[in-house]
């Protein structure tokens, strides 16, 4: 005598064809999202080109930092595939080096915000209480304030007044660290809020209660039972935040408060664009085009991931 459940399961699996692993299902759903797929391709090409910038520099026999005022604003030529900028530096190489900085800032800041946000969100959602109340107030506050003017003040702070050694505060790379820290500082709340919500709903599920009944400690429950179940929203939110971060970095750098020259970033390459639009509009167009393409690609990618990871959200 066959068990009804067994029969049903056998029938169901034959009707659905060969079983697939969850990973394969996710991949198939992701493939259906053509915009996301195209975006992944674009981002891969851009990253590869940015990573290969020193190799391309060597192959062309150019120096990306060499200022030559006699070769300023040259039109494209075999020696300079996109021409030169207002100081005679090769535009294509500057764009690639700028891409390294923009992508680096986007990825590190998004990762930093995700780690802090996940930790805080898990803590607040799981333990609740005063920490939770404080978190919700803070996230409300960050959303409700005019962010850009406040970031401009933060970016203008004199680091030596905070007790940083003079040598570090005036070093060339400090603008890079500063902007990553600033963005993490305002960016973690989005992820924290998401993780908190997901944790709240996971906390009351049977498998968590079962784990607790079996004697699992809080640490084990959070890390082994809750965290793996809230990973999808974290991945989606982090991907979407990379685009926003690159946009914010470019705005601050453009306003002269982000990445400082001579380090190139797509944002600071446009700082002088307004004077250039009359005689060299290309210089004002390319960096912005790359920001736009990168940000929209990360947004499409995040959208595709959301559809793949959270099918209930799809209509």
């Amino acid at each position: 005598m066959a068990e009804p459940g067994g029969l049903l399961a056998a029938g169901a699996s034959s009707a659905l064809g060969p079983s697939r692993s969850p990973g394969a299902i996710l991949w198939r759903r992701f493939l259906e999202h053509r915009l996301a797929l195209g975006s992944l391709l674009v981002l891969a090409c851009l990253s590869a080109a940015a990573l290969a910038a020193p190799l391309i520099e060597a192959a062309l026999g150019l120096d990306a930092t060499l200022v030559d005022l006699f070769a300023a604003k040259l039109p494209p030529s075999p020696g300079h595939p996109l021409g030169t900028d207002e100081l005679g530096r090769d535009l294509m190489l500057r764009l690639l080096y700028g891409g390294r900085v923009s992508l680096l800032v986007g990825l590190t800041a998004a990762l930093g915000a995700a780690v802090i946000g996940t930790a805080v969100g898990l803590w607040a959602g799981y333990f609740g209480g005063a920490a939770d109340a404080l978190l919700m107030r803070l996230t409300d506050g960050v959303i409700a304030l005019p962010l850009l003017p406040l970031l401009i003040v933060l970016a203008a702070i004199d680091l030596t007044k905070l007790g940083l050694p003079e040598a570090l505060a005036t070093s060339q790379d400090v603008s890079l660290y500063r902007i990553v820290i600033l963005i993490v500082l305002v960016g973690w709340t989005t992820v924290a809020r998401l993780v908190r919500g997901a944790t709240l709903s996971m906390k009351t599920r049977e498998f968590v209660r079962a784990a607790r009944a079996l004697g699992a400690g809080h640490g084990r429950i959070i890390l082994v039972h809750i965290l793996p179940n809230v990973v999808s929203p974290i991945i989606v939110a982090t991907t979407l935040s990379i685009g926003n971060i690159i946009l914010l970095e470019s705005v601050l750098s453009f306003l002269g408060l982000g990445i400082q020259p001579p380090i190139a970033s797509w944002g600071n390459m446009l700082t002088n664009a307004q004077e250039l639009i009359w005689d060299a509009p290309a210089l004002a167009i390319y960096p912005g085009l790359l920001i736009f393409a990168t940000v929209i690609a990360f947004n499409f990618l995040g959208d595709g991931l959301q559809d793949a990871l959270d099918p209930r959200a799809v209509e």
Binding site: A144, P146, P149, I152, L247, S250, W278, A284, I291, I296
Partner: protein
């Protein structure tokens, strides 16, 4: 309702007070101080003179005491003078707040007027060509760097076509037509930058409303599609949209700062930016506080609209 508004007003006042201390502290961390600027102006000042001046102006006091002194003055309406403009800061900020409100108001209204029908249309025909086009426009809107969008618009409409001024303010005695000319490019920039986010929320909210039982009921009882969409879908979709819009007011202000900087519009955003870069401590401080206050009030206003749109919400 009145009690709720009073409570929210009190909360906003507390947030504003906290922010005033935070911003006061941050401004103090900016490079240099007012005495440094005096030293630059008079090379004969010795270090001892500078120390005496600092003591005279209370700059040697701990930050708490300086803040309380400032707060005391501010509560009597004394916000100090702007260094760049050599005028009381409020005299500078009030007219500029007006310019910013016009820019933000017109841009926001335009973005909303475009996003509402487009988002509804996309939600009514999911997966159609219209939906795909609206989706791509929305993503483009949220992904375009606003300062670069401004540059593109200037290149096309001011440099190549020469139809519109590339920036600046209309002369004070200009008529409404000239003023409008100066407003078109900034408004276009801010509208496009704002449009994408609104479009996505309208579409999502309309989708959600279309799934509800009351829409099926409305259709079943024979209402025309027009009555269903306008009376039931749109009205209910507006509730989440208004909340999100309120939360985006801070972002709208950030967008206005970029737009004003690009087009040289004399508004709050540009004033704050110039004040920070020009070490105009008083102006930066009060400007930032005024921007925070405006944002808090806009949030409050949106909450009230929320209650008005959705009678189920009561604030007992």
């Amino acid at each position: 309702m009145l009690r709720y508004i009073a409570q929210r007003l009190a909360e906003s006042a507390v947030v504003l007070l906290i922010m005033s201390f935070v911003i006061y502290g941050l401004i103090g961390l900016m490079p240099g101080d007012p005495i440094d600027l005096m030293i630059n102006a008079d090379p004969k000042l010795t270090a001892a003179d500078a120390a005496r001046l600092r003591a005279l102006h209370g700059l040697d006091q701990p930050i708490w005491e300086r803040y309380l002194t400032w707060l005391g003055g501010a509560s009597r309406g004394n916000f100090g003078y702007s260094r760049i403009h050599a005028k009381p800061v409020l005299d500078i900020l009030w007219p500029r707040l007006g310019n910013t409100v016009v820019l933000m108001g017109v841009s926001f209204a335009l973005a909303l007027a475009l996003a509402l029908p487009a988002g509804l249309l996309a939600a009514l025909r999911p997966r159609s060509a219209t939906d795909a086009a609206v989706n791509v426009i929305a993503f483009a809107g949220i992904s375009v760097p606003p300062f670069w969008l401004a540059i593109l618009l200037i290149i096309v409409f001011a440099v190549f076509l020469g139809w519109l001024p590339a920036g600046g303010m209309a002369p004070a005695d200009a008529g409404i037509l000239t003023r409008t000319e100066y407003l078109i490019l900034p408004v276009a920039t801010l509208s496009i930058a704002t449009l994408g986010g609104i479009l996505r929320f309208v579409r999502a909210a309309a989708m959600e409303a279309l799934r509800q039982d009351y829409v099926r009921t409305a259709r079943a009882k024979g209402l025309s599609e027009r009555q269903v969409v306008l009376g039931h879908v749109l009205r209910n979709a507006m509730v989440p949209v208004v909340t999100i819009l309120a939360l985006n007011f801070g972002a709208l202000f950030s967008g206005a700062l970029i737009t004003e900087t690009m087009f040289g519009t004399l508004g709050m955003g540009k004033t704050i930016y110039d004040a920070i870069l020009g070490n105009d401590f008083n102006l930066a401080l009060v400007g930032l506080l005024l921007a925070t206050l405006t944002t808090l009030l806009a949030n409050l206003l949106a909450d009230i609209c929320y209650a008005w749109l959705d009678p189920r919400i009561s604030y007992g």
